[in-house]
Symmetry: D2
Subunit: 370 residues, 4 copies
């Protein structure tokens, strides 16, 4: 069977997923057959151009119509558009890959997770960083007990594209369109990655204390003379305690001058530790029972996760490859009917942590994660 794929959205994330789909046949020959069938958007000329570039056969301006034609839906829209089409697809048992965070509000995320629970179709939340070989290698180390009992976690996601107060306003600065700022856009990744790496060992996030800050209150509208209110956070910080008693600190910022896309995570256990940074995504730093310091491992050997599909050792891969792995696993799960993670329930779990951090910021007190 060849699956007809439909995308809603035709910008950054659509390029990332279209590129991934385009590479599957060459590098993952046992991936299900797919056709980039229809791409949905409202701006016709831009959409037509994108369809051509991204290799889609058809375009549509209404996602409702598109649902009739597709076997699998990719929801690659701004956060405020995540819920409705995803739920509609799931109600028709159409598998969905939805970008993260699941929804701008916890209510929205719960409705989506409910729809997924009621559906026979696979519902994926697009936490692509689970698919970095170095991250999966790290998870294997943790699972195998190489780090012993986990005591502490530190996660941070640093960018600097808003540090200039004249950087233009975008939908990412709007509570209405994005829900939140750095915490939802970046923090969602970190919370999910933490759960992926150590969740089996430390249990769920038990309670959190959070802080959100907006450094620049309004920004210019591009090509206008006006400014518009920034209604989301520029940065957040959080302290957490896990069920096991392990503790952690979390942080994201769009004001971290000198950092472009530094998603870093460190885990400290009784027998070892790991450190990872997205800007050097082929590397993992590992301290274990047989090492004194941190060893820098280039996770590009044939027996490393996914690497037999790619190039010889040391011929490094990039950010886009995480999407290839993600799509391979998602499509394979759709075809086989096997469980897929991160699913919508995983996406909702992340959202619950984010929501608790926000509530803690408002109340000034620690908040239990439900």
């Amino acid at each position: 069977m060849t699956y007809n794929i439909g995308f809603i959205g035709y910008k950054f994330m659509s390029r990332a997923h279209a590129n991934a789909l385009n590479k599957l046949a060459m590098f993952f020959s046992d991936a299900p057959d797919i056709e980039r069938h229809v791409i949905v958007g409202r701006n016709e000329p831009a959409l037509s151009k994108a369809a051509k570039t991204l290799g889609f056969a058809h375009t549509a301006t209404d996602w409702v119509d598109a649902l009739d034609e597709v076997d699998i839906l990719y929801n690659l829209t701004p956060n405020s558009v995540h819920a409705e089409p995803s739920i509609a697809a799931l109600e028709r048992d159409i598998p969905v890959m939805c970008e993260k965070p699941l929804a701008p509000t916890l209510d929205g995320a719960e409705a989506m997770a409910d729809a997924a629970a009621d559906s026979d179709a696979t519902a994926a939340t697009a936490f692509n960083y689970r698919y970095i070989p170095a991250i999966q290698y790290a998870q294997n180390l943790v699972q195998a007990g190489e780090l012993g009992e986990i005591h502490q976690v530190r996660g941070r996601y640093l960018q600097d594209w808003l540090v200039d107060p004249d950087a233009p306003w975008s939908w990412r600065n709007s509570e209405k369109l994005a829900g939140t700022g750095a915490i939802g856009d970046l923090g969602a990744h970190t919370i999910d990655l933490t759960d992926f790496l150590v969740g089996d060992r430390v249990g769920a996030f038990d309670r959190v204390s959070g802080h959100l800050q907006t450094f620049v209150e309004e920004r210019p509208i591009e090509g206008d003379g006006e400014t518009r209110q920034v209604t989301v956070d520029d940065a957040y910080t959080a302290q957490v305690e896990f069920e096991s008693g392990a503790i952690g600190t979390f942080e994201a910022s769009r004001f971290a001058t000198g950092h472009k896309n530094d998603h870093s995570i460190a885990v400290y256990g009784s027998d070892g530790a790991i450190r990872f940074s997205l800007e050097r995504l082929n590397e993992l730093e590992f301290n274990g029972p047989d090492t004194r310091g941190f060893e820098t491992i280039l996770v590009t050997d044939p027996d490393d996760p996914y690497y037999d599909h790619w190039w010889p050792p040391g011929h490094v891969i990039g950010w886009e490859h995480t999407f290839v792995h993600e799509n391979y696993e998602f499509l394979s799960a759709v075809e086989s009917g096997e469980d897929y993670h991160p699913d919508f329930a995983d996406g909702l779990a992340v959202q619950r942590v984010l929501d608790a951090i926000q509530r803690s910021d408002e109340s000034g007190a620690w908040v239990d994660v439900p």
Copy 2:
């Protein structure tokens, strides 16, 4: 005039300061003349041996007697012994260099700061990390506005010497003797360093949210068969907000596997950023208006802070050199009568932040720093 120096304590910190005093004549020829006169301790044989090794002319087992003979007192004892001799010395207008943190409790620190305020003598808190050339270079950059408006700070102090649950109990694990654990021993340094680097720009610590955790509840007594309760924290984390609205995260741990003495601080401003780690204390990472990434500066040029006293560029110095600089400045201030910082008021200010973090840990809510 030659100053007679008296030390109370003859262990780790006494070696650090005695070595510093021993080096002054050779490397800081304009430092005041001093004599290592008397060293005070309770274990006579060990004390005699230490006196010989550390170059002291006399020993004493009672600090009260020793006060009659000394021009300057170094209080290098465990935290619980900081207050009484320091206050007694200041009441007699004898200058004091006291190790950090100032006292195990806020009350004790307040009494010490009061005594210093009432005394004509110099009262120094031994925050030696202010005297790292790379740190002073960094402070100069911040003061000169090279980083612009400061938005975020991240400080952490990572060690791993307690991660083994069989590591023996010591006074550092006792609330009675040490007051606190990682927060007082390590966190005190980080809070002071932050204030030193950016205090003029972001104002005081305004409010904090803290978390203290003890991972191993009891530890074996060395050469015994018994165990003893750990009554202090193994690690702490904190979120802070400064008066300016800048935010920060702080953390220390004795369970950070793979780290020996990693005291790191990062500062992000609107125009630049700096990063520093104590394990590479000759280096500063700097991102500024003229750089895209972080530049690794070896702060060992003749025009770098204190470096004209030492070696040619790239002939690096070590941890002990911070004490030489500290003692040079302290003794010079004693002689000249000029203000010295960090003084006891600075030590108290740090203690107030630490106390607020602890109270926040107890209450589960943000706490204003008085």
Copy 3:
């Protein structure tokens, strides 16, 4: 016009180029239209499978026949097969992209360069590392004079896949099939990259002193019980002097334990310096007039070479992307008729340096590069 592309060879390099061609439409929309038309090899079943995976419409077992059908030829074979098909294609004015080094012997390379000179078709040598954004950024710095007068160069290419004496014999260990070992396979890249980066500033390689070494004299044939002679070098080193008086050291090894694919180059000038390593190919270390130490630049901004075609800053690319850039430039030059570099003359120039290094190794004396 749509160009019919033919590949000779269907292994490692063919995957790299096929992937590049497959990505052009999505990321370089102004690239010429191409069709992956025919792929040539001798093992029919493996070839058919490769054709399917790599997206070729047809297969052929004789490259002579294939020449009738193709508009552009990619010669992606072992070194000993480079000359004949490339020359035949050029004689018919069919553009050729040939893998490096140009030929196993200097004679072969000269014949190929002669054929290119006599042909109207573009003849490219596949030195893909010229197409790393960080390398082009570095070249721009050198060209702009940011490094001043160039004094010294250091190039090395370190791998470790032969350090195990039981690693199996392959064509890369055979003088007959490969011509040389590390020097041709790895050294060719370094010599070309050096010329690309600083050739305009230091002139040609003037004279060289070389050393080739084989550490393991014979290796097992896989799945056999026999061994076979290693007739090429495992490692080479060289000292060079350029026309300007600048000097350099070069080195490659397949025995550099702990290194997978570390192609590094450093350039020191009177005003600045650069350092690059292929294992961190998104980064360039730069010391310039405004920096004291080396600044680590993530060369992933929209105005960096080729990066406007890819992802937002810090969303790093990988080794394979160099082939996309290379193919884009090559195909654009084929279409426009403009000059393309590195061409066969550039490939021959590299070969002359390698040959001089080998002759120096034999004679034990410095050798002038013709």
Copy 4:
């Protein structure tokens, strides 16, 4: 017994050794008792000042007279003054610590080694980098076979203090006073360190190919208007082959922009590899049988070489500490009468390699090391 120490020379190296002697009592309590007795120089006022600063009881303007008073002689003069006083002392069985390189010419070094062979006194060449804890830790790894059979070595010593063509002329630029430039000043260290680390495994330096280059031919005399000829090398490179067939590359430069004192060495064996850089002298990078990548080891644990004498883990030491270790071992050997290395024969062996590199530079051919 208390040994009367005499220094000839009162500048950079004298400060380094005087500081070391001053620290011995505090940190190496079993070191022989010494007195800083007499310091010899020609400029009386400067000498008196140095004597006071460096802690010497007496001064002398003629080293011949001084020999009557000293038990141990430190020859810390420019290279051209190494031979005569050292030989005179040894003839009187006075132990000598002489700075490196042993002499400006091979003849001089041979005479010195002959004098040492004929003397009952200890004769030390001051290769202080053997005394870095990380280097001794590395040597232990090599000796223990952790790296397996050694294949390749790379040593380089990079500084940049002459890259400015207006940097003033000094004795270090004079063949008459210094013998050579970068090769003798910096290369001597690298050759000795290589022999120390791997000599037992790879045998002696068998043959070499060398290259010396002077980039700036004359330099201004400070506070003058005149210039003076530079008669030594600014940089050298070399290729070597060891008796075992292992190979290496060596390099030093005073024109390596961005490097202050980067003495680096890398060793590659069949089972592992090490990398070291002097600018981070507390660290060793190690790849071994149990690691995939390079592990960064902070060599500051109590069971690391010499570290039980210093500070807790992670409280790093500096360049000057190498002299403390060196003097401790030298003085202990003087007292015990046991063999000491590096002795004058070791210094001569280094000089023979340097001389062969220079002769190779002149002849343009490989030269056997005698």
